[in-house]
Structure formats: C-alpha cells, structure tokens
C-alpha cells in the first residue's frame, strides 16, 4: 500500500513538474506547480510530517501560489517566445540534465546503502505540538529573525508596488 501510494504520488509530482517546464502559458505552469505541491503534501503525510503537510497546503498552495496566479491574471500576459539560447538548452540541456540526475542518484544510492524503509505511521512526532515545542525553545532565535525578515519583505513589497515610484 505504501509503495503504491508513493509511486502514484511521485508520478503525479514528476508529471506536473515536467508540465511546468514544457507549458508555455504561465497559468498552466502555475497550476502544475500546485499539483506538485499537493502531491508533496501527501508524501509529507506518509513521512509522518503532519504539520508540514498542512503548512505546505496553507502557505505554499493557498497563499504563495494564489499570489502567483493573481499576478498572472492581473498582468494577463500571454505565452512566451523562445530565444536562440533556449534552443541550445533544448539540445544540450536534456543529456546534461540526465547525466547530473544519474550522478545524484548514484551518490544517494552510495551514501545510503542500508536501504532503510519508510513505513507510514512509524514516525509520529511531526504533529503541531512537537514542531511548536522545538520551534519555541531550540529554534527561538531563528524564528524571531525570520519574523523580522517577513516584516522587511512586507515593507519591501509595499514600497515596490506603490503606484507612484519616485
């Protein structure tokens, strides 16, 4: 059952990611990315990361991607045109990418030879309580720093998107 779920979700994720790359219209790409995020959220659940799965849907799919789609709809930009460099990328990129992927896979296989299994339900400490405890004790300083970062980002976005730019 685990293997079946993993394969189905991995297939959805890979096909959606591929679709992101090959689609010419940004809206199709954005929705493919939402598909990747949704299947990753379920994979997180299989890995026992309940809170992260929910946060993935709320923050990534529900806020960030909605922002993307909002901007795409607002600008109503059509498809893109490809330049000469893109053609080179098409010819040389695919073999190089396959080579890189093979290398990474080899390293992963070599570094993790024990072949540990992921069993659903074996790791149950990914709930909100555990994350919160860790976040507000061990990782308190990064948490506060990140909140300042968010504040800066808000200010930056407002300054940039203002109507009159001096």
């Amino acid at each position: 059952m685990d293997a079946f779920l993993f394969l189905v979700l991995a297939a959805i994720a890979v096909v959606s990611a591929l679709n992101l790359v090959v689609q010419t219209h940004p809206i199709s790409s954005a929705l493919s990315l939402v598909g990747v995020m949704g299947s990753l959220a379920v994979l997180y659940l299989l890995l026992g990361a309940e809170f992260i799965a929910a946060a993935q849907m709320i923050v990534y799919a529900g806020a960030i991607m909605v922002l993307f789609i909002f901007v795409i709809m607002l600008l109503n930009a059509g498809g893109e045109r490809l330049t000469r460099r893109s053609a080179y990328v098409k010819i040389f990129g695919v073999p190089l990418m396959a080579l890189f992927l093979g290398l990474v896979s080899f390293v992963i296989q070599a570094a993790l030879p024990r072949g540990e299994m992921v069993v659903f339900g074996a790791f149950t400490h990914g709930g909100p309580a555990d994350i919160g405890r860790s976040l507000f004790t061990q990782y308190l300083l990064p948490f506060e720093v990140v909140s300042v970062l968010i504040l800066i980002a808000i200010l930056g976005a407002i300054v940039l998107a203002r109507k009159e730019i001096d």
Partner: protein, 105 residues
C-alpha cells in the same frame, strides 16, 4: 525489516533529485520571469522533501523546522519578487527576461 510494507528511503531522495533537476531545467529553459520564479519554488519544494525525508531517517523534527523556515523565506521572497515583477511589467510591458537588458545595451 518489513520489505513488502514500506518504501525505501532512497526513493524519496531520488524523487527529490528529479524534481530539483526539473526545477533547474525550467529555470534555464523558460524565458518568462514568472515561470522562472516558479521553477525556483519547485527547487525549494524538492529540497523540502529531502529535509523531511532526512527528518524521518533521524527520527527528529529538525528537518521539519528547516522546511518551515524555507516556506517562510519562500513567502517573503514571493512577496518581494512579485512586486518587482509588477514594477518591471509596469515600466516595460514585458515579462521576457531577455528584454530586461537595458544595462547591457
């Protein structure tokens, strides 16, 4: 070890690698600023999957915390990045990355 009941940890990492490579491909291949930006998000997602997988391997929540921080940074990045894209579009009426090169000419 229940071989029939479970998925090798490697599979998750390889899936993460595949998604990361597709993100790089999109980043290099696409010419639309928004799609390029989305490819970066795809790479971040792939890395998040690795974090959560390693968190499972070590039976600790630290990987989850890192994922959480990556999400927060991605949100901040999206807010600023999309504001920049809006400004660029307002000034140049284009989203092609090749057309935003007035410093070069």
């Amino acid at each position: 070890m229940p071989a029939s009941n479970g998925v090798p940890l490697n599979w998750y990492l390889i899936l993460s690698a595949i998604l990361f490579c597709l993100g790089i491909a999109g980043f290099l291949y696409r010419r639309n600023v928004i799609t390029v930006f989305m490819s970066i998000e795809l790479m971040l997602n792939a890395v998040n999957l690795s974090f959560v997988t390693f968190s499972y391997q070590f039976k600790q929540v630290d990987g989850h915390i890192f994922t959480f921080f990556v999400m927060v940074v991605a949100a901040a990045e999206a807010a600023v990045g999309l504001a920049i894209i809006l400004t660029v579009f307002k000034n140049r009426q284009t989203l092609q990355v090749d057309d935003v090169n007035s410093l070069k000419n």
